[in-house]
């Protein structure tokens, strides 16, 4: 192996044996596949890519005894070296700009470039969150306009805009439920029910907010087992139940619409609880179904999924939460409100009670602040730009094409890949397959890595947990039929190899910048910084 080199430049590949079928080169590069050292191996403390006045000696100093004496030990690069370093790194990434990225539940759709242009207008990008409210009416108008769209599209009563991502939105919704129960004097409700197929963030969020988590079983159909849910709700007994609410993903992570959603909501409401909907998959139904019509009390919307804001290699996200009339009073601060004179108010701690008295008949009783400022403004501008581009008609078409594309993939492959819920009805925006029928000890992981060699990002693998060797394929609406056909062809070929027990798949990928990486070593002997302390 090639240990991190602390003495200077050394291409990471140089000492490595050549891969099977690849010719070794002097540099370790392979034409356009370029190796790139770490900045710590090529940069220097004395190099900078920014022109600044040299620090002047003398003059006053207000640093007290705190002036830095020790070096930080940060390497610098000139601008050309910087641009080259990151450009070379960028070429080791797969991205939606390069091809189909069928990560189920993650919704990798095209990111329109108008969104990027608009977000960078100085009137949005160069505005401080604590400017006097009169100087930021345009920014507040973006929040207000986006909020009105989200309310209309979901048929809900209000929306909390400040949550920073989906999981933060879940927390917002769960805290609204906690606050509403406390306000009712029912703090004894401490259980949140979560289906087995839920995203990991659901139980983590409920636990984070102090609830205990119980699983709701699924039926053979891949949907919530309604009789089992009702039985659990009844166990609370005496009208003084212990269930605070349920967290349900709809469409669910098996790619199915929860047909009984309204009945589930009614049962939970009858038992005195609230219904949280994980809105990660709202893109499947936007413009065709309003969650508000299904009895939902709270649902987060991932602007970076349904509304096309970029994922950026892991964020930023944005997770506004739409709320029913029952939960709206508890939404976090700050929030915006437009009054009849057209002025948009920013309601913070200070005026919250007075504003509620004056404009909301005193019902607003926020549970407090979840983040320092007003949420992900840079995502709001992008999402609003996307929504206005599509309009009410286009968004409906978005859902229809997303569902059409997923069903096309499902039906084109169900003869070669096991589709456990193929007979449960049409799928929504994603198609679920399992590893049943693979030969020669081949696994879902092997097939996924094979897709990499075929030039595709793998689908979501081993999730949801309810299906063995799950493969969750979400093509999204921004793929053409030609792109889908090419993907289906590749997946069919791989499925046939997997069924035949073609063991060469175990070596995949062979054409990527790296072969399979040793994740066990990474966790057993963590190296988390360059030249740093081993945190064993």
């Amino acid at each position: 192996m090639n240990a991190p080199n602390k003495s200077g430049w050394k291409p990471a590949m140089q000492a490595a044996g050549s891969g099977e079928g690849s010719a070794a080169t002097h540099t370790g590069n392979r034409a356009l596949m370029l190796e790139e050292p770490l900045i710590f191996e090529i940069g220097h403390r004395e190099t900078t890519g920014v022109d600044l006045p040299a620090p002047s000696s003398g003059g006053s100093d207000r640093l007290g005894r705190f002036a830095r004496t020790a070096p930080i030990d940060l390497p610098g690069l000139s601008e050309p070296e910087t641009v080259r370093h990151y450009t070379r790194l960028s070429r080791q990434n797969y991205a939606i700009d390069l091809g189909l990225f069928p990560l189920g539940s993650c919704t990798m759709k095209h990111n329109p470039r108008l969104n990027e242009k608009v977000a960078r207008l100085p009137g949005f990008a160069d505005v401080h969150p604590l400017q006097p409210v009169d100087t930021v009416q345009g920014a507040l108008a973006v929040i207000d306009e986006l909020a009105r769209w989200l309310i209309a599209l979901t048929g809900m009563h209000a929306v909390a805009m400040s949550p920073k991502a989906g999981a933060h939105g879940e927390l917002c919704g769960i805290l609204c439920i906690r606050a509403a129960l406390d306000a009712r004097g029912e703090s004894g409700r401490t259980v949140i029910l979560v289906p087995e197929s839920a995203h990991g963030t659901n139980p983590a969020t409920a636990a984070f907010a102090g609830f205990s988590v119980e699983e709701v079983p699924a039926n053979a159909d891949g949907r919530v087992d309604l009789p089992a849910l009702k039985a659990r709700l009844a166990r609370g007994g005496d009208g003084a139940g212990d269930v605070a609410g349920v967290m349900i993903t709809n469409p669910n992570t098996c790619g199915l619409f929860e047909r009984d959603m309204k009945a589930i909501s009614d049962a939970v409401h009858d038992a005195g609880g609230y219904v949280y909907c994980d809105g990660a998959n709202f893109n499947a139904i936007v413009g065709r179904v309003r969650p508000g019509d299904l009895g939902i009390d709270a649902m987060h919307i991932n602007l970076h999924k349904t509304f096309s804001t970029p994922h950026g290699g892991g964020g930023p996200g944005s997770g506004p939460v739409v709320l029913s009339e029952a939960l709206a009073p508890f939404m976090p601060l700050p929030y915006t409100a437009r009054t009849a004179d057209g002025h948009i108010h920013l309601v913070e701690e200070e005026r919250a009670d007075a504003f509620s008295e004056e404009h909301f008949g005193g019902v607003m009783q926020s549970f407090g602040r979840m983040t320092a400022f007003h949420g992900q403004m840079g995502m709001f501008t992008r999402a609003l730009t996307y929504i206005l581009s599509h309009g009410a008609d286009g968004l409906r078409q978005v859902a229809e094409d997303a569902v059409l594309n997923a069903n096309y993939v499902l039906r084109s492959l169900e003869d070669v890949l096991d589709a456990p819920f193929a007979r449960s009805g049409p799928c929504m925006h994603e198609a679920l397959f399992s590893d049943a029928g693979f030969g020669g000890g081949l696994s879902t992981l092997d097939l996924a890595k094979g897709l990499i060699d075929e030039g595709f990002h793998p689908m979501t693998v081993y999730f949801p947990l309810v299906v063995h060797g799950a493969m969750l394929v979400e093509p999204t609406e921004t793929e053409s039929k030609a792109a889908l056909d090419q993907f289906i062809g590749a997946l069919r070929h791989l499925a046939e190899r997997a069924r035949a027990g073609d063991e060469t798949l175990k070596a995949a990928p062979v054409h990527a910048p790296r072969r399979r990486l040793d994740e066990t070593q990474a966790a057993r002997r963590p190296v988390l910084t360059w030249g740093g302390t081993d945190p064993r």
């Binding site: 900078t48 840079g378 581009s389 990486l517 988390l528």
Partner: protein, 454 residues
């Protein structure tokens, strides 16, 4: 509809492959009564790129842009010059439009960048290990309090008076639901940071942690080492919060001063103001043994099947997708692209550039403080500061800020805005000065203050 590639004939062909008569058949599992039969009424229909851009530009024009006026706001978000190449790099589609690096063989660009970022943050903070980012400084601060609870098995957090009031509010909100107790008092308008009073509070309790902002909300630089010693005596962890990373180019790192956990807002480097988000939560620990209690993603080094160096997300048994209700945090998506912007900006600066940038900020801030303190009726509160200080105006600073905004000067953040319930703080104005502030800006503020206070 320019973002939808399918044609009507594609749709027909695909429906026939599926064996469905119409698109409605695919929505058959949705109860009929929940169907919307057409576009939702009262909402606009699709629009051209030109029409949408025109609308958004109109909204953008209704804001006062920081770069267009003399501008002095800070208090947790700072305006710095961002080199042009930063935005160029974060707009490369391979970074912008990639997902969380779940498939490391085709995500080495993002992963290597995160490994470099973690190392930069750890060094800047004087810590052993940093994570791959959280949402922002305020949520990172709360996560640190939760981590201290898990490590010490205590649930009382003592927050220093100088901690950003929004950060205090976030901690209070969360504590209401987790059973933590929060001990906090508002700041006092004096030159010192009140370490003696804080240490007395620490000695009278058995806290899980003591949370101190460095420099604090009034711009003062607290003595972390003294506070840390008192915390250690009581078996508590010292959490240092930094909202202006550029300051650490001029002052000692919190880790060097003895902080156990260092968190902060990274927005000042590479990210920009953006009306409050997206920002960048930074999170680091001094003792590497604490790493398994950390929230959020971690990138680590390993090798591939051919022995070549590579990077992966690691120690994920701490995280929600593996551990579910037993995870250290519920966070999933973080601030990856903002981390890239921070890291590129930091790489361009390097040690030399960051130290020079910090020195220039401090030089200009010293000059501005001196100039503004000469305005009749204005007093400078601070003995120590980096690029932000508090002026005492002798009258309600909120009214002054509003009046100056009307005259095209964004004067700073009034303490009345930050502490509406504390009338004794109302005369305070927090003023930030960075390398983007010009001599003319400082004169404009001095003149406007003089006129307003006359």
């Amino acid at each position: 509809m320019r973002y939808l590639p399918l044609t009507d004939s594609d749709r027909q062909a695909m429906l026939s492959t599926i064996g469905a008569g119409s698109i409605d058949d695919l929505f058959a599992d949705v109860p009929r009564e929940a169907w919307l039969d057409g576009p939702i009424e009262g909402l606009p229909l699709h629009a051209s790129e030109q029409a949408v851009e025109r609308h958004m530009r109109k909204l953008a024009r209704q804001n006062v842009t920081a770069g267009d006026v003399p501008f002095f706001l800070g208090a947790g978000a700072y305006r710095h010059h961002i080199p042009a190449s930063v935005d160029h790099i974060i707009q490369r589609g391979e970074f912008l439009t990639a997902y969380t690096p779940y498939q490391p063989e085709i995500a080495q660009g993002t992963l290597q960048m995160l490994f470099e970022f973690q190392t930069q943050v750890a060094r800047l903070y004087g810590c052993a290990v940093a994570n791959a980012s959280l949402y922002d400084g305020s949520t990172a601060c709360w996560e640190a309090i939760g981590m201290a609870r898990r490590i010490t098995r205590r649930n009382l957090a003592i927050l220093d008076a100088g901690l950003h009031p929004h950060y205090v509010e976030v901690a209070r909100t969360m504590a209401r639901f987790t059973g933590d107790r929060i001990d906090h008092v508002p700041p006092v308008l004096e030159a010192g940071c009140g370490e003696d009073a804080l240490i007395a509070r620490i000695k009278a309790a058995e806290p899980s942690c003591v949370v101190v902002q460095y420099p604090d909300i009034l711009g003062r630089i607290p003595d972390l080492a003294r506070i840390g010693a008192a915390a250690r005596e009581q078996g508590a962890l010292l959490i240092a919060v930094n909202t202006e990373p550029v300051a650490l180019g001029a002052i000692r790192s919190p880790g060097e001063e003895g902080a156990d956990i260092v968190v902060g807002e990274g927005q000042a480097l590479g990210v920009g103001l953006q009306f409050g988000g997206p920002y960048l939560g930074l999170f680091a620990v001094r003792d590497p043994r604490h790493v398994r209690q950390m929230p959020g993603r971690l990138c680590g080094e390993t090798v591939d099947a051919e022995g070549r160096r590579g990077f992966v997300l690691t120690l994920s048994t701490r995280e929600q997708h593996i551990r579910r209700e037993k995870a250290t945090s519920n966070i999933c998506t973080n601030s990856g692209l903002c981390a890239l912007a921070f890291s590129v900006h930091m790489t361009l600066l390097g040690e030399k550039g960051l130290r020079a940038l910090a020195a220039e900020n401090h030089r200009l801030a010293c000059h501005a403080a001196e100039r503004l303190a000469q305005v009749p009726g204005v007093r400078l509160l601070n003995d120590t500061f980096f690029n932000e200080f508090t002026l005492l105006l002798g009258c309600d600073a909120r009214a002054v800020v509003r009046r100056l905004a009307g005259n095209g000067v964004l004067a700073g953040v009034s303490l009345g805005r930050l502490y509406p319930d504390q009338p004794q703080l109302a005369e305070g104005l927090v003023v930030a000065v960075t390398e983007t502030t010009t001599e003319e800006d400082i004169s404009a503020l001095a003149d406007a203050l003089q006129e307003a206070l006359a």
